[in-house]
């Protein structure tokens, strides 16, 4: 396909799978966090904000090391999860997805929070006055009215997941077919004397993916705005 080697195809497929799953699983959490930050005042808010945004300021390698310590086979949380649910993040795609999710979370939370803050509280109040519970209001007013922002955030998260490198290679290593995503394959190619051609190809695949994701997000956002009659 497109003259891609098996190794490149494997990396591409794995990347897509990991980014997709990471994004979809992060989305509900990001929504809840964003809503909390946008609409609620609670104790420890700033602390939670700080924690969520940590992956943004820390070098990804450090986040990878932290994940290794916490979610590794012998990590506090990792061993507990394994004992209880049999879930293991060790050196498999689930771990890669976890790394991608952690790195993408702050970006998604921030974008969604902004979008939610832009929903006029007046309309939420109007919904409440018509008998709608706060949960129903959230799902029928807040979310639809910030959908273009949420879609944008999701694509942003997806793109960030696709590009995730440092935390992934540190946390789940660079095992082809298991944890070797596109960026990791690209890295490997830069380690090989005559890997340039392959590295270029991989870079172009990444770029094309990025472009597709961004254009998709644009189209979705425009549709959403039209829905609101904004343009």
């Amino acid at each position: 396909m497109f003259g891609l080697s098996e190794f490149e195809l494997a990396a591409l497929g794995l990347s897509l799978k990991i980014a997709l799953i990471a994004t979809l699983l992060t989305l509900p959490l990001a929504l809840i966090l964003a809503w909390l930050f946008a609409r609620c005042q609670f104790k420890g808010r700033n602390l939670l904000l700080g924690i969520v945004h940590l992956p943004l300021v820390m070098p990804p390698v450090v986040i990878g090391l932290f994940l290794l310590t916490a979610f590794g086979k012998q990590g506090y949380i990792g061993s507990w999860l394994y004992d209880l649910f049999g879930i293991s993040f060790a050196f498999n795609w689930k771990g890669a997805a976890l790394a991608a999710a952690v790195m993408a979370l702050p970006l998604m939370v921030r974008s969604i929070q902004l979008a939610i803050e832009n929903v006029p509280t007046k309309l939420e109040k109007a919904a409440r006055s018509l008998g709608s519970s706060s949960l129903k209001t959230f799902f029928t007013i807040t979310i639809p009215l910030s959908i273009s922002g949420i879609a944008g955030a999701t694509i942003l998260g997806f793109a960030r997941s696709l590009g995730e490198f440092g935390a992934t290679i540190t946390f789940v290593s660079n095992i082809p077919g298991k944890t070797q995503t596109l960026p990791l394959a690209l890295y490997t190619m830069t380690q090989v004397p005559d890997g340039e051609a392959s590295a270029y190809r991989l870079a172009i695949i990444s770029a094309v993916l990025a472009l597709l994701a961004i254009i998709a997000s644009e189209i979705m956002a425009r549709k959403a705005r039209q829905q609101l009659g904004k343009s």
């Binding site: 086979k73 660079n174 095992i175 380690q191 004397p193």
Partner: protein, 229 residues
Amino acid sequence: AKAETPPTVFAAASLTAALDEIAQSKKIKPQFSFASSGALARQIASGAPADIFISANIKWADWLKTTTSDIIVNEKTFLSNSLAVVSYQPQTQTIKKLFQNENDFFVAIGDPTHTPAGIYAKQSLEYLNLWKELTNKLAPSSNVRAALYLVQSGAADYGIVYKSDALNAQNIHLVDILPKNSHEPILYQALLLKQDNQINAKATSLFDNLSDTDAITIWKKFGFQPLKN
């Protein structure tokens, strides 16, 4: 069943090309993971499913031996390497003259605080009495390949990299090989590891044959110096 599965080999990134070729020649398809020796060592210490670990640095191998000694079955130091000075523009002078004459230049090296290549380079430069003069002209990279690319792209004028990297690289010129006695020996150590208290048979055979005659030819082709057992 465990014995049938292909072995997992965690190896320093600088060995990528050579190990790939050796594995092909031996008709086994190990699961490779190439990254920095340090990252791999930590991963193995936290339970990574590696059957063989090849470190480009004795220190990380030693670190692993002390932290998780119970999984190590066998070890061997089987490969050595040398340091090469490379340049962006072709040069005719010796490195000493080069580094003393010019004022405005950069030398890309592996980070001397933690990358093996950097540590060895620092020893050499100290030995050659160039370290002090060069401290402000060094560009320490996170790994040797990055240093090499700095020279390839012309961002840095010179670089001190492994001979194995220099030999196969394009767009650079080999200036000199640093004397072997100017730095500690550059040694690659392979560790054979247990997985869940079992030893992978194919891993054992690969481990044993890392320096057989076929392998030696390949190592040499990529600029490494195989050691006698």
